[in-house]
């Protein structure tokens, strides 16, 4: 096997990042704005009336969840659009006819989407710091959870972008699946605040593990053990890798 076609990876990666810069408002500014609104509403307005959760002021408590919320939705949105759009316009022909392996295609598209989400996550974290006091107990773990989540959900977005055969479907997954899962995934509350039945149901929500692990890296408090969080995240990552491998092996929706 030959070495990676790094020129190709770089070309696609640059192309995708340039797209972000062109659509800076949509890619960065609007998520930052909406997160700030969450802080104003949940942190300042309502949060003042909510007692501390697990010993953390409510405003601070929701920060990891909010970052995750943006990270998930933006990763899926970026990656799905990044691969769907060339399929839609037909420019994908160039990538498919190039001496580029599937691995390289995935590295480039998913890498670019994940990079954007990470930049976004960092910006939101900084924004949050303006509103509420923050401290991060385990910065390396935090980084690991960030990267893993960004990559995993960018892969999911890539899958969605290949599966979608219209713009409605492209929006369907983020809207109907990701957003509800994140809202019900403990972004705004601790799981043990729920009735027991719903606590059990919640454990089937993969986002719970992400948010919990991520919050643990900040404050050292968690709904489920950090090891379990990491395990579930990796499990989800490998599931996505498996599906992407299958897509390329069969040419599903890429090659008639």
């Amino acid at each position: 096997m030959k070495a990676l076609n790094t020129n190709a990876i770089r070309a696609i990666y640059r192309f995708e990042m340039a797209r972000t810069l062109r659509t800076l408002t949509q890619s960065i500014v609007s998520p930052v704005l909406s997160t700030s609104l969450y802080f104003v509403v949940f942190g300042a307005a309502i949060g003042g009336r909510i007692p501390e959760v697990d010993g953390i002021a409510y405003g601070s408590f929701i920060v990891p969840g909010l970052i995750m919320l943006s990270l998930l939705t933006q990763s899926v949105a970026n990656a799905s659009f990044g691969i769907y759009f060339p399929r839609f316009t037909g420019t994908i022909y160039e990538v498919l006819s190039a001496p580029v392996s599937y691995l390289e295609i995935v590295i480039a598209y998913v890498g670019a989407a994940a990079s954007k989400s990470l930049i976004l996550g960092a910006i939101i974290l900084a924004t949050a710091g303006l509103f509420v006091p923050l401290h991060i107990d385990h910065p390396l773990w935090m980084l690991l959870f960030l990267v893993l989540t960004a990559v995993t959900f960018s892969l999911l977005g890539f899958i969605v972008g290949i599966w979608a055969d219209g713009f409605e479907k492209l929006n369907l997954v983020p809207m109907l699946i990701i957003t509800p899962l994140t809202f019900l995934g403990g972004s705004f509350y601790s799981i043990d605040m729920l009735p027991p039945f719903w606590q059990t149901v919640t454990l089937f929500n993969p986002v719970v593990y992400l948010v919990s692990g991520f919050r643990w890296s900040f404050y050292g408090i968690a709904d489920v053990s950090p090891a379990l969080s990491l395990g579930m995240t990796l499990l989800f990552l490998f599931a996505c890798i498996g599906i992407v491998a299958w897509i390329f092996k069969t040419g599903y929706r890429l090659k008639p």
Binding site: K2, N7, A8, R14, F15, R22, S97, A98, K255
Partner: protein
């Protein structure tokens, strides 16, 4: 090796909701290094499908393809590095600039940056002035040239042009032909598809005709043109003949079944150049007069590539 592209026993079946459709049937085709090959065929014949399979856009159902000896599936990197593809549809990005789009293509094919070469390509396609323009501001003809520039950006050894001159004005068409010839002079092998006979006639070294998923003819253009050089003289007789009189008999002379028409096939090219080896029209008519065979009308007709093509395709 003198073969640039070899396609053997290639078949393609598109699976569809309303049943399967066989778009290519056992295609065998060899393209020689450095030639310009024109693939002629009506709409839906399978030209784009064939090119798509060679370039890796479509999965073959069966068969084998090698590009300069490299299998296009097992050794796709080596095969594709050699190939430049200009698709039939005008599929371009919108917001990128011309220069960045062409540089992107070069990178995609694994080549290191080379702004000087990109400049040369853009200049040769009269796109240099537009290098900083967004693609969406280009006209259709410019977009077509941009697609060619993208295909040339990585210095391919074989170029596929899928209907390069569809929707292109006369001047640009001539420019394009010149460009293709220049590429050939540089040793690039070219396969182009077209609906236009004149284009094949003008450009190609060899011509292939594809119809309903089958290659029905592959021939040197010269040989084809020679066939074209033939003319037919039809003589409508006053009275039916039972047979051609011995004095007139000639391989090139035929009598219709009803005995009322004589047809004579001759080489118009030779006739015109006066180096004929057979009798001319005048000779034949004189001989008819001498033999006392009366006729009421004569008609000459030249079969065109168009006719050959149509008769082949409608077979």
């Amino acid at each position: 090796m003198t073969l640039m592209l070899s396609v053997s026993n290639l078949s393609k079946v598109y699976a569809g909701k309303k049943g399967d459709f066989q778009a290519l049937k056992d295609i065998n085709l060899e393209i020689r290094r450095g030639e310009i090959f024109a693939l002629l065929g009506p709409n839906g014949a399978g030209k784009t499908t064939l090119i798509g399979i060679i370039c890796g856009l479509i999965n073959a159902s069966s068969g084998k393809i090698t590009v300069d000896g490299h299998d296009n599936v097992a050794d796709y990197r080596a095969a594709r590095e050699l190939i430049g593809l200009v698709p039939q549809e005008l599929t371009t990005d919108a917001f990128e600039t011309v220069f960045s789009a062409v540089s992107f293509s070069r990178g995609l094919f694994g080549k290191p940056r080379n702004p000087a070469y990109i400049e040369q390509v853009l200049r040769s396609l009269s796109l240099w002035d537009k290098r900083n323009s967004k693609i969406m501001t280009l006209s259709g003809g410019m977009k077509r040239r941009l697609l060619i520039a993208k295909a040339l950006s990585h210095e391919p050894r074989m170029l596929f042009l899928d209907e390069p001159t569809a929707g292109v004005d006369v001047e640009l068409r001539r420019d394009m032909w010149n460009l293709v010839r220049k590429l050939r002079d540089d040793g690039v092998t070219v396969l182009l598809t077209t609906h236009y006979i004149e284009e094949a006639e003008e450009m190609a070294d060899r011509i292939g005709v594809i119809s309903k998923g089958e290659i029905i003819l592959v021939e040197d253009k010269a040989t084809l043109m020679h066939k074209l050089g033939k003319k037919q003289l039809t003589v409508y007789l006053n009275e039916a003949l039972a047979s051609i009189p011995a004095a007139l008999a000639d391989d090139a002379l035929e009598l219709s079944a009803d005995g009322y028409t004589l047809s004579y096939t001759y080489d118009a090219e030779q006739e015109a150049e006066g180096r004929r080896q057979q009798r001319g029209i005048g000779d034949l008519l004189n001989e008819l007069n001498k033999a006392g065979i009366g006729y009421r009308d004569v008609n000459t007709k030249q079969s065109s590539l168009e006719e050959i093509f149509v008769s082949l395709v409608n077979r």
